[in-house]
């Protein structure tokens, strides 16, 4: 039963499991589906006259053009403007969740829970959920205790925009020395489904998953919309451990930028290696 539940947690769409979602979301989904139905209605366009592959080139007069536009106007309105209106409407209702400022990294060192996050507006008492990478994954609830004047983690010097907070755990536990993902104000509360913590952070009914893996001497934490490694990676951070570990990361989890940019960087890196007359490291070859 446990295995089945775990499998379902990864494979199954979260939206099917949810109940009690807002009326708006259900209406939006149905209406968009109707839009697609409508868009499949064939539009009567006289393509014969525009065929340039045979015979003399057709000349379309102003009247022909205008009458064509007039004939097409209702369809054009429907095809272009109605979906646009719904898109804008949907945006207005969707929870605003900024991955850069609403997600951070928390660690416990010597009994103190420290949060490093690109957000300097968290007030004392602000509730923050932590995704703890135990097996199965678990959730801890914390409150902001106070803002810290300086860094409380060892490897965040690469980002001068971080703010640091001390957190107080009010529910659940953290594993000492292990990093956890801190989530500020998700649209829907995080839930444990099988072995995994899942959350609809943006309120768009697309589930977000949390993942960690180890590289040579650190942990890569990531948040994915959709299944990890197959969905879209939305957030990533590295946590330095200070000792060498067994690696299990894939390149999708360790890269620092978008796929195309990362690929360009890798090609440039390998090219430079060859230019320098050195063997391309296996890590680069593999990526």
């Amino acid at each position: 039963m446990g295995l089945s539940a775990q499998h379902h947690a990864v494979e199954g769409p979260i939206s099917e499991k949810k109940t009690g979602n807002s009326l708006f979301l259900r209406v939006k989904e149905r209406t968009i589906a109707n839009c697609w139905d409508k868009m499949e209605i064939p539009v009567d366009i006289p393509t014969q006259d525009c065929n340039t592959s045979s015979g003399p080139r057709a000349v379309i007069g102003h009247d022909d053009f205008r009458s064509g536009i007039i004939r097409l106007t209702p369809q054009l309105l429907f095809v272009f403007f109605v979906p646009l209106l719904f898109t804008l409407h949907g945006r207005g209702r969707t929870h605003i969740f900024d991955y850069e400022s609403n997600i951070g990294l928390a660690t416990e060192q010597s009994g103190t829970v420290c949060l490093a996050i690109n957000n300097d507006e968290l007030a004392t008492g602000h509730r923050i959920a932590l995704v703890v990478f135990t097996t199965p994954q678990s959730i801890a609830q914390t409150d902001v205790l106070r803002r810290l004047p300086s860094s409380c983690q060892s490897t965040d010097a690469s980002n001068a925009n971080f703010a640091y907070y001390e957190l107080r755990v009010v529910e659940g536990t953290l594993a000492p020395s292990a990093p956890a993902v801190a989530v500020v104000d998700p649209a829907q509360p995080l839930k444990v489904l099988g072995r995994f913590v899942v959350g609809d952070l943006e309120g768009d009914r697309h589930p977000e998953y949390f993942r960690e893996c180890t590289s040579k001497e650190g942990v890569h934490l990531s948040v994915w919309t959709g299944k990890p490694l197959r969905g879209k990676r939305r957030w990533h951070r590295y946590y330095y451990l200070g000792y060498d570990v067994e690696r299990n990361c894939t390149s999708k989890e360790t890269k620092n930028s978008g796929p195309l940019k990362a690929l360009q960087q890798e090609v440039a890196y390998a090219t430079e290696w060859i230019r320098l007359g050195a063997a391309v490291p296996n890590d680069v070859k593999r990526r």
Partner: protein, 185 residues
Amino acid sequence: MQLSGSDWVQQFPTTSSVDDLQEPFRSKVQSFLKALADAGAKVSIADTLRPSRRVYLMHWSFCIANGTANPAKVPLMDGVDIQWVHTDSAGNPDPTATKAAAADMVKAYGIVFAPALGSRHTEGLAIDMTISWQGDLTINDASGKPVAIIGLPRNGMNGDLHFVGATYGVVKLVTDPPHWSSDGH
């Protein structure tokens, strides 16, 4: 032989001194660090040498604590006179005490993930450091040619800086931001 336990953790400490690196990598690192300093970059060194004896203790204590290794069959390590198997008052192996002692070591080391047995750090061929600068960075490569680094990020993950480091023989491992080594591993 000394029984396993948290007392071992203080022995064989990791160092952050460039002097503990192996030649010729040490000289290459020193040259690269000098170039960085001359260019105005800020460098903070975390780890250089991780003694193989420390790594041995970390690896096997983690395995024993997690039940993935037989403490009676842990290979010996030269210079580490440790007794992994604890015994009861009758002299018989005490698995509970053995595991508890290993777990104490794991806790004292602050280990969460399975430690690897060997790395460039144990060979004195790697350095972990945080590099940062403000504005543009103009740094000399190993041939003395100045290289202007204009793009982001302004830290050790900058690809242009990786090329400069490589000219010195200090090679970036891109999956681990602080890690540079003799061959990128």
